[in-house]
């Protein structure tokens, strides 16, 4: 506020307002006050002593909105703001603040102002006309509750609950454990005097590239400085040699005039060299000083540009609290949200892109995870369900955890559901470990609930959560304890542009693997290897896992195996595998650079980077390396038995590990040779690399979906007749038509097939193995 007074035309957010229209000014102001109202309404002070400033902050926001709306002639909004202000004033006068339907109405009123704020100027009035009845309804609701409110003798802030209107039991204040509780007044002026400017992301990327170039130039200067020092040393050595020559000549008993002249010239030369040596030394010192300053400036510039991409979780917390508040209201159960680690740094891009997965997890926790009040009380739990969001940096990555203290995941019920859906035979289902069972939760359309609510089961499942997190280079892990609750952990890069990696050497090139994907690093000897059929395994950290050459995974020539070698273990539990590398080169922070999109099909490579010395490095997609065992094993097998295999070959393209594994096992057991690929792009690469009699593909897959894969396949004359079967969870008539129109010969709905029908369809298309 003060800054705005000092500098006319600049608001508290640092925006230059001189060129804005009145409506634009109103919209800018509405953004601030709507956020103030929302934050304040969700966070009433537990201490009645703080009620006064809190009420005043809310009232001021409402009053400011009313005044601003009046100036621009938006009468509907004047009425709504007046209702807000009046309600707050009356509640303050009555000395009581109870959470209830009127808070929802007030929050929705704040939403109205926020929605107006994002319209273009000329869209505001039409939008208001369109929503007039909604605004008038809210105005009535807010005022009606104000009239009906009782008049207690003293302020009672403790009756703030998250209980629905039909069950108005007191269950304690809503807590936001680690979140600060700024007053509305503080937040409205909290932007400070720092100017805010908008920059296109591309501009930041360009600046980052230029800053990186400055660092590389600095490296080159440093090498020049070393050359200069070497040159200076050699110069001194030349001078010493000259001194010795002059001394030897001077020691001669007799010197004719010619020799004397030579000695004299040499002495003059020596003197000149000495002067030059002094100049060289001074130049070297000056050069060193400039290099140091340049290096510092270049690094600070690079760090500053990188920091501009970072933010904290603070800004997102309000939206999470609002979501949990609304969920509790809709589900009719009290829910408390605790947030820990809100000051944790995160890349702005990452934060934007996890919004949807996180919202889904919060919805899941509220709807699936938490029990009803009755169930909780019967189980001896507090009536209010607890959802906790915890953020922290671990090993150079951001761990974002969403947990609840609800019923937990019933593994027996999950196993039963897997069988009922025909996703695994009873025998296979019984053998599935806990981790494998959890994998089914990430299948498209999979749910352990038969009922679909308006909160969950809306077609956006955990599979989308996983896909979105993996698209960021992250991973999702789930754990649960029956009756105690569930926990979903998103392991994310702190920045989409900075990653903590382990550098490894393979075939004389440097590759990087994100630390978040690495379970451990080991040094093995030949004696540690256990031949198991055609493959080689090792016993690492109390688990037996395949040892695969990273070079062979990348299609590079494998170095001769020495007696001792290093392995990098990626993947967890049953999916763990040890990747043999030529050398470990240490950990490093690297600035990620996206791969040229035309290299999208580059197998196992996720991104690129430039090391400090200017060397390019490829960042490996360890998720693929960790989930691509069948391909790696087939490599080993093919190396061991190069004879052509007469069996019919099936290419399975499926992103779900479990479904892929089931299909592979069923087909392999029947005698077909199977190459399983993890997504559409991988499937395409596989198809290009070998001959197949049949392709079985899913539809919903990352990188390239099954329909587009099929279209690409059919566009190639060589594959126009290749039998293709779609196996998908999508079961609508439109989905089936889309698949068949794209060129599929058979469309299988996953929920409707079993081992026998799959094999019958395969045999129908390509015959017996």
């Amino acid at each position: 506020v003060c800054a705005a007074r000092r500098q006319p035309g600049v608001n508290t957010m640092g925006q230059d307002l001189s060129n804005l229209s009145l409506v634009s000014l109103f919209r800018a102001e509405a953004t601030v006050h709507a956020a103030t109202l929302c934050q304040g309404l969700l966070d009433p002070p537990a201490d009645p002593g703080q009620a006064g400033p809190w009420f005043e902050g809310l009232m001021r926001a409402g009053h400011s909105l009313k005044g601003a709306a009046r100036i621009v002639g938006l009468e509907l909004l004047v009425g709504l703001a007046h209702a807000l202000e009046d309600r707050i004033v009356r509640d303050q006068q009555l000395g009581q603040w109870c959470d209830g339907p009127h808070v929802d109405a007030m929050l929705e009123a704040a939403d109205i102002f926020a929605e107006v704020a994002v319209r273009e100027d000329d869209e505001v009035q039409p939008w208001l006309d369109q929503h007039a009845s909604r605004i008038q309804r809210l105005q009535t609701q807010i005022m009606a509750h104000a009239v009906a409110a009782p008049a207690p003798a003293a302020v009672d802030m403790a009756c703030n609950t998250a209980v629905p209107a039909e069950a108005p039991a007191k269950v304690g204040p809503a807590q936001v454990a680690a979140a600060p509780a700024p007053t509305p007044a503080a937040s409205s002026s909290g932007a400070g005097a720092n100017r805010v400017v908008k920059l296109a992301a591309q501009t930041l990327d360009d600046m980052l590239t230029q800053a990186r170039e400055a660092l590389l130039v600095d490296e080159a200067r440093e090498r020049e400085a070393q050359d200069l020092q070497r040159f200076s040393r050699r110069w001194r050595q030349s001078m010493s040699a000259l001194d010795q020559v002059i001394a030897r000549l001077g020691q001669r008993a007799t010197m004719d005039s010619t020799v004397q002249a030579v000695v004299s010239e040499l002495s003059d030369l020596r003197q000149g060299m000495g002067v030059n040596q002094d100049l060289l030394a001074a130049l070297s010192v000056s050069h060193d000083r400039h290099i140091r300053r340049g290096r510092l400036a270049a690094r600070q510039l690079y760090q500053s540009v990188r920091r501009t991409r970072m933010t904290t979780l603070d800004g997102a917390i309000l939206a999470w609290r609002r979501q949990v508040h609304d969920l509790g209201r809709r589900l009719g159960r009290p829910i408390e949200l605790s947030v820990h680690g809100q000051h944790t740094l995160i890349d702005r891009d990452v934060l934007d892109r996890i919004e949807s997965p996180l919202n889904h997890l919060l919805g899941n926790a509220a709807d699936h995870g938490l029990e009803s009040v009755e169930e909780r009380v019967a189980a001896g739990k507090p009536a209010a369900g607890q959802i906790t969001v915890r953020a922290r940096h671990v090993k150079g990555q951001l761990l974002l955890e969403v947990s609840d203290d609800g019923r937990g995941i019933n593994l027996d019920a999950l196993r039963q559901r897997v069988q009922e859906r025909g996703l695994a035979s009873p025998e296979v289902a019984q053998r599935l470990s806990d981790a494998e069972l959890y994998e089914f939760l990430f299948l498209p359309g999979f749910s352990t609930r038969s009922a679909v609510s308006d909160i969950s089961g809306r077609g956006v499942g955990l599979d989308v959560v996983r896909t979105q997190v993996q698209a960021l280079g992250g991973a999702v892990r789930v754990s649960s304890s029956l009756g105690q609750g569930s926990r979903f952990v998103l392991a994310l890069p702190i920045s989409v542009s900075v990653l903590r990696v382990l550098l490894v050497q393979v075939d004389a090139e440097v590759y990087a693997i994100g630390l978040q994907d690495i379970e451990r690093v080991e040094r093995l000897s030949a004696a540690d290897l256990l031949p198991m059929g055609a493959q080689t395994c090792a016993h690492i950290n109390r688990a037996v896992m395949p040892v695969v050459s990273l070079a062979s995974q990348l299609g590079l020539p494998a170095a001769p195996a020495g007696d001792h070698f290093a392995v990098v273990v990626v993947g967890e539990a049953e999916q763990a595998r040890a990747l043999r590398v030529d050398a470990l080169l240490g950990e490093r922070n690297i600035g990620l650079m996206p791969l040229d999109p035309r290299l999208g099909g580059l197998r196992h490579v996720a991104a690129a980077a430039i090391l400090d010395d200017g060397t390019p490095v490829l960042v490996l997609d360890a998720h693929r390396l960790g989930h691509d065992q069948e391909h790696g094993l087939s490599n080993v097998i093919s190396e061991a038995s190069p004879q052509p295999n007469p069996r019919k070959r099936v290419l399975v393209v499926e992103d779900s590990f479990t479904v892929r594994e089931v299909e592979r096992q069923v087909l392999t057991a029947a005698g077909y040779e199977v190459d399983a690929r993890v997504d559409g792009e991988d499937g395409w690469q596989g198809l290009m690399a070998g001959h197949f009699d049949l392709m079985i593909t899913d539809i919903d897959m990352p990188k390239l979906n099954g329909i587009d894969l099929l279209r690409r396949v059919r566009a190639l004359p060589a594959h126009r007749e290749l039998p293709v079967m779609i196996v998908s969870y999508k079961d609508s008539a439109a989905d089936r038509k889309a698949g068949l129109d794209a060129g599929a010969d058979r469309y299988f709905v996953k929920s409707g097939f079993d081992d026998r029908s799959l094999l019958a369809a395969v045999a129908d298309l390509i015959g017996e193995p």
Binding site: E213, V510, L554, M593, R598, P616, V617, L618
Partner: protein, 189 residues
């Protein structure tokens, strides 16, 4: 021989007027829409960057070479070692796809030490780094001085070779920059 006398797709009229027979106008209209640059260039002088590839000398339109660099550090792309675009190269803090011009033209490879310059070619939204042995000159070449490419060439040459030009040192193969990018793009896809 004036190629325009036989092939309506080649324009050699010094005034820039197109020597068209009426029935070819429709085809010309399509051609112009596809490749306006080539047509315009054909009507005037053009600057070409002349460089060496082993014992051979080639040139690319100078307007498409955004910079020349000394060779930077590279990283081979796994699975693409035998392709026309086998590596990434770091140029001034950027990572650029590096193409193998020798392989693209079917020429024998040279020793790494023989590569002294990297051309940065930019056309049709694509950028490629092209390692070459040396850059000898930028030549201002009139279209009249360009000899037509032999029609009997095989491999990628018919698509890439725009013509031949002779200077004091001998013959220079004029390569189409856009056509080269298209060839490399196709190899990537």
């Amino acid at each position: 021989m004036n190629p325009a006398a036989e092939d309506p797709r080649v324009n050699s009229a010094p005034t820039g007027e197109l020597a068209l027979r009426p029935e070819w106008r429709a085809e010309w209209a399509e051609r112009l829409a596809e490749r306006p640059q080539a047509t315009v260039q054909a009507a005037q002088r053009a600057r070409w960057m002349v460089f060496g590839l082993g014992s051979m000398r080639c040139a690319l339109p100078a307007s498409l070479i955004v910079r020349t660099h000394v060779p930077g550090p590279t990283h081979q792309l796994p699975g693409r070692l035998d392709s026309l675009v086998p590596a990434l190269v770091q140029l001034e803090g950027r990572l650029v796809l590096q193409a193998d011009l020798f392989k693209s033209l079917g020429l024998p490879a040279v020793a790494p030490a023989a590569i002294t310059r990297v051309l940065e070619l930019q056309a049709q939204g694509s950028t490629y780094a092209l390692p070459v042995c040396d850059v000898s000159s930028i030549a201002d070449i009139s279209v009249c001085a360009v000899e037509p490419a032999p029609s009997t060439l095989g491999g990628p040459w018919p698509a890439l070779l725009q013509g031949l030009w002779r200077d004091d040192s001998g013959l220079v193969s004029l390569l189409g920059g856009s056509q080269l990018c298209a060839l490399l793009d196709a190899n990537l896809g």
